[in-house]
Amino acid sequence: MIVPLLSLVPGERGVVVDLRGGPNFRSRLYAMGLAPGAVVRVLENYPRGPVIIEVGGTRLALGKGMASRVFVRKL
C-alpha cells in the first residue's frame, strides 16, 4: 500500500517509493538519506508539529507539508 509518510503513526515503517515535489525539494531529501528504496521509521508524528523519522541511522524532522509529499510503501 503506497501512502504519504505523513499518514504513518509512530513505530510504523515504510520504504520510500517517490518524492513528489520540485528539484530543490527532491535533492534536499535524498541527500539526507530519503531516497527511493530507503527504509523509514516514524518516531513521532505530532498533530501540530513536525514528523520525526529515522532513516539510515539518523533522525530527521520534516515539516508536515514535506511529509505529505514523501510516498512510502508501508512495511
Partner: protein, 662 residues
C-alpha cells in the same frame, strides 16, 4: 614552494570542525568565501617539517547547485586544485555520508582520504565497521578517528603527507547504475566527448549532472557548446524521463544508495541497537508542549550565564578605559587633540572593547548549544510559528539574542541556511529591544508611569510584533526560495571546550574588527558635534542646532528639540538617549532628572519617546554588524525602514492619544 592544500569535506554534524581544530589548532583564520556570506575557515598544520593549508569546506549533504554552501564546496573541489581531499564520514550514519563521498568520487577526484569519525559512538549503537575492508571497498585510505579525544589525528596527518607525496595509489570506486541509466550516461558522454568542456571536467560527472538537470552544468554546456547542443541533450533526457515516468535525478539517487548499500555489506555489520539518551531526550525536547518549556528554561540559563558574567566585565572594562582617559588627559597640552583622543578615540575603542566580554560569552553559549545539537531541536519547535512570518524556526535564536545585544544577534543570523532567511532575520533584528534600550525604557517608565511593569511589557510586545510583521512584509520582497523544512536531529554530543573557546574567540575577534571601526568613527563624530563650535549646554553646539533642525519633524509626534539631540546621540548607543537628556538639563541625574522631564512632558509624550527610542534606528554597532553580514545597501535599507516605522508609530500614538484626551 607553495603550501600544499588539503580540502576538508563532509556532512554537517559529523565533527568536521573538531577535526579541523585538532589538525590546525590556533593557526587558523576565519573569513568569507568570495562573493557570498558563507564562512570560510583556513588553517595550517605542520607534519615532517612541511606545512599544509587546510580549507574547511561548508558542511553539506551533497554537491548540487541548489544551495550556496554546496556550490561553494563543489567549486572548490572542482577548481581549487586541492592536493588532498579529506572526506569526514560519520560512522553512525555511513550510508548517508557515503552519498557525498560518491559525489566526490564522481567528480573524478582521486586523492581522497576518508576520516571515519565517531567510531566509538557507532560501536555503542551496535554498528561494527572494519576500516581495512572499508578502505578496500572504497578504493581509498580510511583513517578511524575519535576527533574529540584527538585519537587518530596523527595518523591522518601522516596519510595526508604520504598522499601529497604521491606515495598512496588510490582507485576510488564509482557507483554503477542500472543498464538503462548507464546507457543514458554513455549517450550524453558521447555527445560531449572531444569538446573543450570535456577537457575541463570529468565526462562522466558532466553526464550524470546533466541527467540530474544541474543548473550550473547546464550553463556550462550553454557557454561552451551553445544552445543547440544543450537543447539536443535536454530533449533526450526529457524523452528518457518520459519512458521512466519520473525524474531522472530521483532514479539516480535511489540507485546510488542501492550501490552504497551493497558496498557497506562488505565492511559493516549491525548489532542490536540500544535506545540512546538522545532518543529519550528528544521525546521531551521536540514535544509540542514540554519542548517549549524546556526551551524557555535553556534560554533563561543562557541569559543568566551571559549577563551574570558579561555585565560586570563590561563595567570593569568601561571603568578601565574611563580611568585611562583621565590619566592620559593631563599629558596632552593641545585642547582639541586631547578631546579627540580622550573622548573620541579612547572612549570609542573603550565602548567597542567593553562589548567584547558580552559578545564572547554569547558566542560561547551559542556554540555550545549548536555543537551539542540542541539548536536543531529549537529550529524544529519554532518552525511552525515563525514560518507564518516568513522566517525559519532557527531564526528564534537571533531574535532572542537581540534582547541582550543586537550585534551578536545579527551575527548569529549566519547560522541560518538560506541567504533569504539570513537577510530577513537580520533586517528585523534591530527592532528587538536590547539591554541598552531596556535601561532607557525602564528609566522613562519609571519617570512617567511610576515604574508600571505592564507599560514596559507593552513596549516589548509592540517591538516583537513590529519585528514579526516586518519579517512577513520584507520576506515578500527578498527573492529566494522558501527553504523546504527538513532538518537533521543529530545525536547529542558534549562539545570539546578547546573547540568552543577557539570558535567563540574567532567570532568575537571578528566582531571587534568589523563593528569596531564603525563605532570608533561614530564616537569621534559625537565628540565633534557636542564640542563645536562651542560645548553643549549653551544651545549653540552643532548637536543642539541639529536638534532644533529636526524639531519640526519630531513635533509631529509631540516631541521637541531635546528629544532630537538625544535621539541623534542614541544612534551611537541607545543608552545615550538618557545621558544626553541629563546634559541638556544641566547635569541632572536620577530622580532629579525624572522630575525635570515630568514637568516638561506629559506621560503620553514620555510613552512616545520610549516607543520611538526602542524602534527608531539600529545603533551604529548594529548597523556595522548588518553591513558586515550583508552589504551597505541592506544596512541602509534597515535604517531607513526603522526610521519610517518608528515615525509612523510615534505620530499615530501621539495623535490617537491626544484625541483620547491622554
Amino acid at each position: 614552494m607553495a603550501m600544499r592544500v588539503v580540502a576538508l569535506a563532509g556532512n554537517p554534524n559529523v565533527g568536521k570542525t573538531t577535526i579541523f581544530n585538532a589538525l590546525t589548532g590556533m593557526r587558523q583564520h576565519v573569513g568569507n568565501w568570495p562573493g557570498v556570506t558563507v564562512e570560510k575557515k583556513e588553517g595550517v598544520f605542520e607534519h615532517k617539517g612541511e606545512r599544509f593549508l587546510v580549507v574547511d569546506l561548508p558542511g553539506t549533504y551533497s554537491l548540487t547547485a541548489h544551495s550556496v554552501d554546496e556550490l561553494v564546496a563543489r567549486n572548490f573541489l572542482l577548481n581549487g586544485n586541492p592536493d588532498v581531499v579529506v572526506d569526514v564520514v560519520d560512522a553512525t550514519a555511513v550510508l548517508r555520508n557515503l552519498y557525498l563521498t560518491m559525489e566526490i568520487f564522481e567528480m573524478g577526484l582521486k586523492n581522497v582520504i576518508i576520516a571515519l569519525n565517531k567510531v566509538d559512538l557507532a560501536e555503542k549503537k551496535g554498528i561494527k565497521i572494519d576500516p581495512v575492508k572499508m578502505s578496500k571497498a572504497l578504493g581509498v585510505p580510511v583513517v578511524p578517528l575519535n576527533a574529540k579525544e584527538g585519537a587518530g589525528i596523527e595518523e591522518l596527518k601522516e596519510k595526508i603527507w604520504e598522499m601529497a607525496h604521491g606515495m598512496i595509489k588510490t582507485n576510488p570506486v564509482l557507483p554503477r547504475y542500472d543498464p538503462e541509466v548507464e546507457r543514458e550516461i554513455e549517450h550524453i558522454s558521447k555527445c560531449l566527448a572531444g569538446t573543450e568542456l570535456a577537457d575541463r571536467y570529468p565526462l562522466r560527472w558532466l553526464a550524470i549532472k546533466l541527467l540530474q538537470r544541474d543548473d550550473e552544468v547546464m550553463k556550462l554546456v550553454l557557454r561552451y557548446l551553445g544552445e543547440e547542443k544543450l537543447k539536443e541533450i535536454m530533449t533526450h533526457i526529457g524523452e528518457a524521463e518520459e519512458r521512466y515516468g519520473r525524474a531522472m535525478d530521483l532514479i539516480i539517487a535511489g540507485q546510488k544508495y542501492e550501490f552504497i548499500d551493497g558496498l557497506t555489506h562488505e565492511f559493516m555489520g549491525y548489532g542490536k541497537a540500544k535506545e540512546t539518551l538522545t532518543d529519550q531526550l528528544d521525546r521531551i525536547l521536540v514535544h509540542p508542549v514540554y519542548g517549549f518549556i524546556a526551551m524557555a528554561f535553556v534560554f533563561y540559563l543562557v541569559f543568566k550565564f551571559v549577563f551574570a558574567f558579561g555585565m560586570p566585565l563590561q563595567g570593569i572594562l568601561d571603568d578601565a578605559f574611563g580611568r585611562f582617559g583621565e590619566w592620559v588627559a593631563p599629558h596632552i597640552a593641545n585642547e582639541t587633540l586631547r578631546g579627540l583622543l580622550v573622548d573620541g578615540v579612547i572612549g570609542g575603542v573603550g565602548s567597542v572593547l567593553s562589548f567584547f566580554p558580552l559578545v564572547f560569552l554569547l558566542f560561547l553559549a551559542l556554540s555550545f548549544l549548536e555543537d551539542l545539537g540542541y539548536m536543531a531541536r529549537v529550529a524544529v519547535l519554532m518552525e511552525g510559528i515563525l514560518r507564518k512570518f516568513g522566517l525559519p524556526g532557527k531564526a528564534i535564536i537571533p531574535l532572542i539574542l537581540g534582547l541582550g545585544c543586537n550585534v551578536p544577534a545579527v551575527m548569529a543570523t549566519r547560522t541560518l541556511d538560506e541567504e533569504k532567511d539570513r537577510l530577513v532575520a537580520m533586517f528585523v533584528n534591530p527592532f528587538i529591544p536590547c539591554s541598552a534600550r531596556l535601561s532607557v525604557i525602564s528609566f522613562l517608565v519609571g519617570a512617567f508611569f511610576g515604574g508600571d511593569a505592564l507599560v514596559a511589557l507593552a513596549i516589548y510586545l509592540l517591538a516583537f510584533a513590529v519585528a514579526l510583521l516586518s519579517a512577513k512584509l520584507v520576506s515578500r520582497f527578498v527573492s529566494g526560495e522558501e527553504s523546504p523544512f527538513v532538518i537533521e536531529l543529530p545525536e547529542f554530543l558534549l562539545p570539546s571546550w578547546k573547540s568552543l573557546l577557539l570558535h567563540s574567540w574567532e567570532r568575537s575577534k571578528e566582531f571587534v574588527q568589523k563593528a569596531g571601526t564603525v563605532i570608533l568613527v561614530g564616537s569621534i563624530i559625537i565628540w565633534y558635534l557636542s564640542n563645536y563650535p562651542v560645548p553643549m549646554g549653551t544651545g549653540k553646539s552643532y548637536a543642539e542646532r541639529l536638534g532644533h533642525l529636526v524639531a519640526p519633524y519630531l513635533n509631529l509626534m509631540g516631541l521637541d528639540w531635546k528629544a532630537g539631540v538625544s535621539l541623534i546621540f542614541g544612534i551611537i548607543a541607545k543608552e545615550n538617549v538618557i545621558s544626553t537628556y541629563s546634559i541638556l538639563y544641566g547635569g541632572l541625574t536620577g530622580d532629579a532628572l525624572k522630575k525635570a522631564m515630568m514637568s516638561a512632558m506629559s506621560p503620553l509624550q514620555g510613552f512616545v519617546l520610549a516607543v520611538v527610542t526602542t524602534l527608531y534606528v539600529p545603533c551604529i554597532a548594529t548597523i556595522g554588524a548588518v553591513r558586515a553580514e550583508s552589504n551597505w545597501k541592506w544596512a541602509l535599507a534597515v535604517t531607513v525602514y526603522m526610521i519610517t516605522v518608528a515615525s509612523l508609530l510615534g505620530i499615530l500614538i501621539w495623535h490617537v492619544g491626544t484625541a483620547m484626551g491622554l
